[in-house]
């Protein structure tokens, strides 16, 4: 499974980084989402899904793998 960000939509709330710092961080230029680990391991699936659902801009989505 892979997580993607639409940078044109991201406004740098960094809720993703708060919820799953293993996968998400924030760049030091525009303050927008950086996906450190796009193909995240299954044990992080729940945290990544929470990050996706908590993005206030709806900028994140997951592709591939089984949907739960």
């Amino acid at each position: 499974m892979k997580v993607h960000v639409k940078l044109a939509v991201c406004q740098g709330h960094a809720r993703c980084e708060d919820l799953c710092p293993e996968v998400f961080s924030t760049d030091a230029i525009e303050g927008k989402c950086v996906i450190e680990q796009p193909e995240f391991p299954p044990k992080l699936e729940e945290k990544v899904r929470l990050a996706v659902r908590n993005c206030p801009e709806g900028a994140l989505r997951i592709s591939g793998g089984m949907t739960s």
Binding site: Q11, G12, H13, A14, R15, E17, D18, L19, S25, T26, D27, A28, I29, E30, G31, L50, R53, N54, C55, P56, E57
Partner: protein, 409 residues
Amino acid sequence: MTLQFHPEPPDHVPADLTVDFDFFHIPEGVADPTEIWHDLVRRNVPRIFYTPRNGGHWVFLNYNDIAEGYRNHETFSTHQAPIPPIAPFPVLQPNGVDPPEHNIFRLLLAPMFTPRAIRQLSEGLQHRAEGLIEGFALRGECDFIADYAEKFPTGTFLDLFGLPEAQLPEFLRIANVFFRSTDPVVRAANLNEIFTILEELFREKDRNPGNDMASKILAAKDANGHRHAWHDILNCGFLLFVAGLDTVTNTMAYVWRYLATTPAARAHFRERLDDPAAFLLAIEELMRINAVSNIYRRVKHDCEFRGVRLKKNDRVVLPNTVANRDAKVFERPGDIDLDRKINNHLTFGVGPHRCIGSHLAKREIMISLLEWLRHIPDFELAPEQEASAAFGGPVMGFESLKLVWPAKR
């Protein structure tokens, strides 16, 4: 001339969308100023309505409409949007300009406000929090506003701007006037005073630059490699001044008021002092439930929005506290659930102008609460705490919040 009240709404406003509502006025006996907003929803007024008070303005009450008010900068501008109208109003940088120009100062500030940049401030914030709390912890009582919630963010601002602590009372006073006054003469004088201070501040930083935000704003270059225009620099300082003081003060006031009256919530946080992820999740819920800001927009052109006719220069208020309890978006919206997993609150706005200081604000509140609970694990509202200490306006809050706890011997 006064702009306070126009008994006749403009021609394009239908009578059935008109509600007499003054968001600066908190009726006697109302202890929590956000209640005047939730009362509108309970009374089932139109979800987009017009009030003739405070110069006349629209109010959006649906989460989706409020979010659209934030996102759609083609229709809803931050430029010259204050309520009651005051013209000309300084063009806050970057908040008072619409995209794409907005991006120039947004990008200038962004690196200073990333989560990582803010985490690096933690030690200083913790030191400040501890110093203030130790000053009154043994006493067994304090006025949370005067003794903590005003001093902490204002002191943090002075630190970030490399200014002496001695300027604290002056900054508190002018911020208070800025957010509370609806008197045109007082407001004009207040703006003059703020800009006199900013002018002095930036001139001093220009002579003696340091490693502070003011010096960084001065050192930044525009697309042609030149320093930004002097008025834009002042307006950027103005934004940071007005955006980070009163909002944090009053959010803290709401949070501590809630904790003082809710033993289970104090226990929830006390049990998670060493679990930052769970602590932060609970802070996020307190951000949702304690949204103190009501945000202004100005309609850019005549248009129809959700079937309502809006005219160029109409003002709009976006009440975050109402958006955050919309049952279409939040499960059990009225319940405070400190383990809430899905929480797309609008406390910091959304879209291009969303609060750049949200990471700083949350960290200020988180560190304050950690330090507070370590020193003062249990506390209550003092019996003399009065309901009349509440105020409305663009930032809602309390003039005083008297807290008591068992004094140590």
